[in-house]
């Protein structure tokens, strides 16, 4: 991205379908992030033992961390089925966020290597998927009747607000992640272009860039946590009987 007038490797009308467009950079980075998460997870969970050592400790720490998030929002009996979802979300989003902070790649004029989560479409896909899942599990666990009753409680007047809430939840969940990561990449891009402008520019950009990269790592971790946390909050609204 780093020269601000870099473009994206977009292919349009794939298979002659008018609405099917791809940003190949996103496709690449989604695949890369997924692969990294998968490989790291599998490598870290090899040779599991009763007495944990090394990476197994780390994996178990993550499990306990996400378990804590789930436990904060709902009781463990229903919550434990969402543990793999929370684990996958937090690791995938964290890796995606950090990819664009640590490394950036431009090929020709196109920006290829970046955070997949710096794209609103992708974060909204994730958030929409989460919200759809909450509805699915809401019906599955509480039953259709209880699920529908949730829209008109405590009073039927709430119905329009409840419906709007589902969409605002989706939007805020996705756009919060996108905004944070995209803003981070934009500022990082500005600093890089400043560094490329000359010796003085390089010297001037080095210190703020290190600071901003550190901060972006922090932001990336926080946003991964927030996304997972809110996912569990929305899920608990739908699957817990006290709502």
């Amino acid at each position: 991205m780093m020269n601000l007038n870099h473009t994206a490797p977009i292919v349009e009308n794939v298979f002659g379908i008018s609405w099917l467009d791809f940003n190949l950079a996103n496709v690449l980075m989604i695949a890369v992030s997924s692969a990294i998460v998968f490989i790291l997870s599998v490598l870290a969970s090899r040779r599991l033992q009763m007495k944990p050592t090394g990476l197994q400790n780390f994996m178990e720490w993550i499990v306990d961390f996400v378990k804590g998030i789930v436990n904060d929002t709902m009781d463990w009996k229903t919550g434990k089925m969402f543990l793999p979802l929370g684990l996958t979300l937090i690791t995938y989003i964290l890796v995606s966020n950090l990819l664009g902070v640590a490394t950036v790649g431009v090929w020709g004029h196109d920006l290829w290597w970046k955070s997949p989560t710096a794209d609103a479409g992708i974060t909204l896909t994730l958030s929409a998927m989460v919200v759809v899942m909450t509805h699915f599990y809401g019906i599955k666990i509480q039953g259709t009747k209880h699920y529908l009753k949730g829209y008109v409680s405590p009073v039927p007047l709430m119905l329009p607000f409840k419906i709007i809430e589902e969409f605002t939840n989706t939007l805020t969940l996705g756009l919060r992640l996108f905004g944070n990561i995209y803003a981070g990449e934009v500022l990082l891009g500005l600093l890089v272009s400043l560094a490329m402008s000359g010796v003085l520019g390089f010297l001037g950009a080095a210190a703020p860039m290190i600071v901003w990269q550190g901060f972006s790592v922090f932001i990336g971790a926080i946003q991964a946590f927030v996304f997972t946390m809110l996912t569990m909050v929305y899920m608990s609204h739908k699957v817990s009987s006290d709502h």
Binding site: L4, S45, M50, K114
Partner: protein
């Protein structure tokens, strides 16, 4: 589909929602979810579950063996107490037996002494009687001799002896 990316001054990636990206993301995420659940988190969570159960089991068995040990120690204490009591009783018995024996021995010794004393007294009495008898005989014959000489009166030796015996008996009773 026309993308308005090119007209934006900043950034390459903000833009319209490309359905292809979204489908890709959805597909990859669900695939990733399935794969890590099966190959990474599933085993890790299973292991944690197993450990939890193991720890719970260990705690339970430790509790059980603690109770067992407590029970055994109580039993041992009771047994020790009983043994002590038995030993005490034995000592008591032995002491009692000792005392009884001692008394028996003393009684026996006393009886023996008494018997010896009685024998000795009997002997003494016997000797005394013998001596008296001898004296009597002597006195009788002497008296006969004296009397026959002094009063010159002839009495039969038998009468004389009887007379003497009477006197001796009187004297003996007075003695």
């Amino acid at each position: 589909m026309y993308s308005y990316i090119d007209v934006l001054t900043i950034g390459a990636s903000v833009g319209g929602f490309r359905v292809g990206d979204m489908l890709t993301q959805l597909f990859f995420f669900l695939l990733l979810l399935f794969l890590v659940k099966k190959f990474a988190w599933g085993p890790v969570m299973n292991m944690m579950q197993k450990r939890e159960e193991y720890v719970a089991g260990e705690i339970e068995s430790a509790e059980k063996s603690r109770l067992d040990a407590e029970k055994a120690s109580k039993e041992a204490a009771a047994q020790l107490k009983q043994t002590k009591q038995e030993a005490q009783k034995m000592i008591e018995d032995a002491r009692m037996a000792g005392t009884t024996q001692q008394e028996n021995i003393i009684a026996a010794a006393r009886a023996e002494a008494e018997k010896i004393k009685q024998d000795a007294q009997a002997d003494i009495q016997n000797e005394k009687e013998k001596a008296l008898q001898a004296l009597q005989d002597k006195v009788a014959s002497l008296s006969v001799l004296i009397a026959s000489k002094v009063i010159e009166k002839e009495i039969s030796e038998q009468d004389q002896e009887k007379l003497i015996n009477d006197y001796i008996k009187e004297a003996g009773e007075e003695l």
